[in-house]
Amino acid sequence: MSQLLEAGQKIRTEATGLTCEVLKFLGGGGQGEVYAARVEGKPVALKWYYAASATIEQRKRLETLCAMGAPSSKFLWPVELASAQGVADYGYLMALREARYKSIVDMMKRRIEPSFHALATVGLELSHSFLQLHARGLCYRDISFGNAFFDPDTGEVLICDNDNVTVDSQAKGGVYGTPRFMAPEIVRGDAVPSSQTDLFSLSVLLFYMFMMHHPLEGKKELEIKCLDLPAMKKLYGTEPLFIFDPADKSNAPDATHQKNALVFWAIYPKFLRELFTKAFTEGLRDPLHGRVRESNWRASMVRLRDSIIYCGHCKAENFYDADAHASAKNVQSRCWSCKRGLHPPPRLRIARSEVMLNHNAQLFPHHVDDERKYDFTQPLATVTRHPTEPDIWGLKNLSRQNWSATNTRGEVKDVLPGRSVTLAVGTRINFGRAEGEITS
């Protein structure tokens, strides 16, 4: 039920002077309401602020954002301010969010069940996008579930609610974020939002996505009977403690009420757990030097995605934990879902990457070309099955370049575009700018 504007109402865009017609109420938040609208026949979204949020400061902020433009297409950015004679306050126009994007809230509510593959992609795109935002000298300030949207099938990300983005270290006043995502120093009142505090929020968001649980809410959270300001300040600000803090178990997750954290934590490979541990131990205490940087998250998300393997019995995604295998060579890992033995497929080792060669694995420019890191636009190789011999698997060349493959007998053969090279242990493949080796 909308309260600010009505269908059919006309608003004016300030910079371009066009008429915007309000069509339908889409939803409301803490600061305002969003409507589907139309400008020159084209569909747009219009956000309109509640009187209490329609400050001069917010207006100035929006003007800056509209002038700067979005850091990338992954941000749903304010385009233009809008207002009208006789209508209180103001709003702004932006693109409509496509229906395919769902939020983390949808994931929490079990309306979507993205694969680990998609989640790792979300993590990768979120880290990459925030890096771009910060590189522009901006800080987000208000990262939370409600702003991160993604396509559950592909993992493509769309970051919304960007009207609180400010220039780094000028963020005084306005929204400070929500306690659960705010860096402890802000909750305590010792600091204002900055790109350093954004890093903390990003790590909370990633933790939540992968563990379906908040990193600071263990037993201590259950002890809170009444969620008031002092309680929030203590849990997230003055006495924050990671639920998996290696040195202090007093905030460990409760096995009955906080099961998700325990179940999921055990599924992921060691390197990811170590990164989260750093984020919520050093990262809690040391805003300047202790936090995990976006480039670090980004690289880890790719590594995570490349380590996905499938259970042959129940199809569930598992992870190949190279560290665990290195330390315990003969222990067979078990599927976290059906508990039966896992049989990892062969791996391709290229430079510092290791890619699991699943039935659906793909290689991208990122894997084979140092100059094209994080380029995942077009696959240049895919795992494929021999057309007549079902026991023979290969790697198909989807690129335009020749590869050359050297088998264990030392014979070198060309792998022309469209052809496939048999997966066999010891086979080395030269992709042009990098060489990989197949191992088991």
Partner: protein, 299 residues
């Protein structure tokens, strides 16, 4: 940061009636309704309604429903008191969406455990007839919450905002001053053909739907909460939604008390001529709507 506030007065009324089917079978009413403050007026005003499952596995669901409405009202009340000092509505909104469902679920589970400890299952309860699918009864003692399984719906009105929350089937409607009827919560496609999400499901907090509505200049005139026994008694969707506009018209014409007096008979008629299920209806009224009625009755 200043928060918009409105100055209307609010009141709540409601009633629950045992279903025709249950009357015939000698089964108690497994719906429940509760509100705070108990005087039914003043802010914050909280209304909760619940529908116990009544399946052979959930044989204590009328207790489950009663515990659900009582704990929901209390948890929400405590939450609102705790949030009174927060500076921004966004904080409260996020806390309502993220913390409240889990807190409510935990408090209900604790209440259920306490009840079970005080009243252990007796032989009769364990000997219930199998249903047509012949599923084993073995999960009754080992999973206590199932025995008390219920849905929960709630609405809470404060000076600055209204929270609607729902787990499972049932309906929440708002009626605007102009008589437009809307659902503040989006539909859950999983609730179909008598299948419902429940407080006793594992991770029940994930199945809650929450809507946080900032109140600025046009709060709803009427909020309705009902269990699905009521909505299922109407021939079609339009017939049910019309309840909203009809009741608002009646309140404007004859006042809330008149409506309250007739609630029991309307609900009884619905269950007998309609679904046969337990029927519960709660109404939160923005008393600005009643002004002209009370003015007319002044002597």
């Amino acid at each position: 940061m200043a928060v918009d506030k409105h100055t209307a007065r609010w009141r709540v009324v409601g009633h629950s009636v045992r279903g025709a089917t249950h009357e015939r079978a000698g089964v108690p009413n497994q719906d429940a309704i509760h509100w705070l403050p108990e005087s039914s007026a003043g802010l914050p005003l909280i209304l909760a309604v619940a529908d116990g499952h009544g399946s052979h596995k959930s044989f204590r669901s009328e207790t489950g429903a009663r515990l659900a409405v009582e704990t929901a009202a209390q948890v929400i009340n405590d939450f609102l008191l705790g949030q009174a000092q927060t500076e921004s509505l966004s904080v409260t909104k996020r806390a309502a969406e993220e913390w409240l469902p889990a807190a409510l679920t935990r408090r209900w589970l604790a209440a259920v455990s306490a009840h079970l400890a005080a009243h252990p299952l007796v032989a009769d309860e364990l000997k219930l007839a199998p249903d047509i699918h012949g599923t084993s009864r073995s999960d009754a003692p080992s999973n206590p919450p199932v025995v008390y399984g219920t849905t929960i719906l709630a609405a809470a009105v404060t000076t600055g905002f209204i929270i609607y929350l729902q787990l499972g089937d049932g309906e929440i409607l708002t009626v605007s001053k102009e008589g437009a009827v809307t659902r503040p919560l989006s539909k859950d496609e999983r609730l179909f053909a008598n299948e419902t999400t429940s407080l006793c499901s594992p991770d029940a907090w994930r199945d809650f739907r929450v809507c946080f509505q900032v109140v600025s200049n046009a709060p709803p005139s009427l909020i309705l909460l009902c269990t699905d026994g009521y909505s299922n008694s109407f021939h079609d969707e339009q017939g049910f939604l019309k309840v909203g506009t009809d009741i608002l018209d009646m309140i404007r014409a004859d006042g809330l008390e008149m409506v309250n007096e007739h609630l029991a008979s309307w609900l009884t008629e619905s269950t007998y001529a309609g679904s046969g299920d337990d029927v519960t209806l709660g109404l939160i009224l923005n008393q600005d709507e009643e002004r002209h009625a009370s003015v007319e009755h002044e002597v």
